[in-house]
Point group: C2
Chain length 426, copies 2
Amino acid sequence: MTMASERDDIAGDMAGLAAAARRAARALAGATTEAKNAALAAMAANIRQAAAGIAEANARDVALATTQGRSAAHIDRLALDPERIEAMATGLETIAALPDPVGAVMAQWTRPNGLEISRVRVPIGTIAIIYESRPNVTADAGALCMKSGNAAILRGGSDSFQSSALIVECLRHGLKQAGLDEDAIQMVPTSDRRAVGLLLEGLGGGIDLIVPRGGKSLVARVQAEARVPVFAHLEGICHVYVDGDADLAMARDIVVNSKMRRTGVCGAAETLLVDRAGSDRALRPLIAALIAAGCEVRGDGEVCAAEPRVKPASEDDWAREYLDAVIAVRVVDGVAGAIDHIARYGSQHTEAIVTANAATARRFLDEVDSAIVLHNASTQFADGGEFGFGAEIGIATGKLHARGPVGLEQLTTFKYQVRGCGQVRA
Amino acid sequence: MTMASERDDIAGDMAGLAAAARRAARALAGATTEAKNAALAAMAANIRQAAAGIAEANARDVALATTQGRSAAHIDRLALDPERIEAMATGLETIAALPDPVGAVMAQWTRPNGLEISRVRVPIGTIAIIYESRPNVTADAGALCMKSGNAAILRGGSDSFQSSALIVECLRHGLKQAGLDEDAIQMVPTSDRRAVGLLLEGLGGGIDLIVPRGGKSLVARVQAEARVPVFAHLEGICHVYVDGDADLAMARDIVVNSKMRRTGVCGAAETLLVDRAGSDRALRPLIAALIAAGCEVRGDGEVCAAEPRVKPASEDDWAREYLDAVIAVRVVDGVAGAIDHIARYGSQHTEAIVTANAATARRFLDEVDSAIVLHNASTQFADGGEFGFGAEIGIATGKLHARGPVGLEQLTTFKYQVRGCGQVRA
């Protein structure tokens, strides 16, 4: 078989996936909430029943990744134990319990000529999810897309191919058990990397949206090459600004939590900005608390002068997403200085201000151009669950359609339904 | 001067525009409604004051276009008479009278831990408008972007360069008179076509959104090449489906109005679908009414058999946007047949059903995947003004963020503002 015909085969396979997804999406758009929830319940039961098989397939994936010399962190993301398999099943049940966004009337009004206009939530269509080694994304992303009425085309990392294939079978069987089209959730049947390129090109109108789930290099490639809309964030360079009017104990708790609760999440703080007014009072205790919590502190000249354990920060540090127990600290001139610093170095993800001054807080919340801006709270609240969305497929820093946590509602669009009684236009 | 250095000059000029727009957008995001409305009023006054000069500049544009052999339709779009100049001024006043979307709280809720989350409308940032010969788009698009808090970079057709330049001066002077940054509205200072390519690439993050205003070839180029989001519709292949349960007099009025009120607008019907049940009753009067109104009718075999003046339609006719007094007519098997035909040939713009059967209407409104679906009303209501938006920058058929008429609200995005009292995450 020649290379050219192999490429044709992949293109043909992918076009087939897209056509089946389109058919399934059309049917799923009209499915009842009851049918979708029954499918999610069946999927959860199927995963519990297949737990031993999933664990076995995962063991083979892990063994292969180990022989290929993957890192311990990579293997940890890939590995499924009984608790993680059970968490997948309960995750599906959580999604079943969430309200169905499809069909909700977002707005409704009547025109002087009697036309009744409704803005109604509808599914987006076909969503491609491109992810890396975590096999649990398979269940999570497939279920979120399905509940919001969308067909999902899943493309997991080749490392998790065997685990993901079994999980997808549990999901598809659940759709069938509930009388829904099983092609509403499909997996790319090859680990050939050219399949990703075809998804990014949009499969000739077959893909309405791409959601990458993984590290920065995956997201960067998707953002650079996708010819269809993408919901993602490239990085979360999140800031905490401690104003001169901050309560110092509150500031210390928020700074340490924002940085150290979990350092590997996108809502973790990477830079601390301290108001010059009051820095002589605030800087030392804040740095001491961070170092006591196990954090490396890198600072500008003033910060280094305040505390000998601080390492000097370079220009690069202000634009670094450490995702680790490291923080960059800078003294700025009030809230205006903080806003300027964030505009220059931030990633429009999540920023917090700590202050007792309501006017200063309002200015920060209004002028910082990020998806999430917080007053007197930790940046680690940047999460769909913490927002009350129940579940999220990720966090978006793009400005259009979805911004911040992406839950079921953000996976829908709308149409205008207009009801008349024979109106024509003059 | 070499080609390379000329290209560098254009790239440098465009980067300068983007940087100035970014600065202006940051300031404009916090401008009061009063200041923005004062600017719009000043712009309107400036245009009235400069009317003679604008007419002179336009006469030079028209003379040049005439010597270049442009079509009569092209010259008509380009030409400004006193009425059109006055319409620009009143258009600005209309936009001033519309509610300001910026700052509106779209949703607000409190979490069990006391965090208060608000979803607040904010401007998108910098919007590039790429248009063709109509110089009035300059005022219209610039004002809509400004009122919604966005910086506008305008790139009109080279034909209207002199008229547009004078209009932009009126707008910028109005900004200055109201104490706002005049760089909130800028015009690409060259008719060099490479400037468009640079805009489509997004000027290194400087452009948040592109709105093309013009013919199909312009929109197709923008959609194919843009590396940033685009609000547009490529074409409006709009359908009217006359169900077997339709009131025939209502159907006739709606069909004739949908097709013939204005044939050149994107909401004009291009295809009429007639239910086989009742086609013997409905087909002849509908065709007769269209022909009496001056419309050419092309039909499938059954339609041709019903009326000798019908020309046979080819496969191409089902996917044609005539934008002319021509319509394609097909007999379909009920609402399911209509929905299938529209899914296959439609452009997801606007479709109408005429029926007295509420269940059939509901099925059509639910299952047709278009931005606007109407029951018992003309497709020509596909218009921001008719929706009550006051003004529109266009109609979008993309599914994300903006769908249907794009007014002030659709030119905004949102951020989450979260207010706490020291909450940290467990």
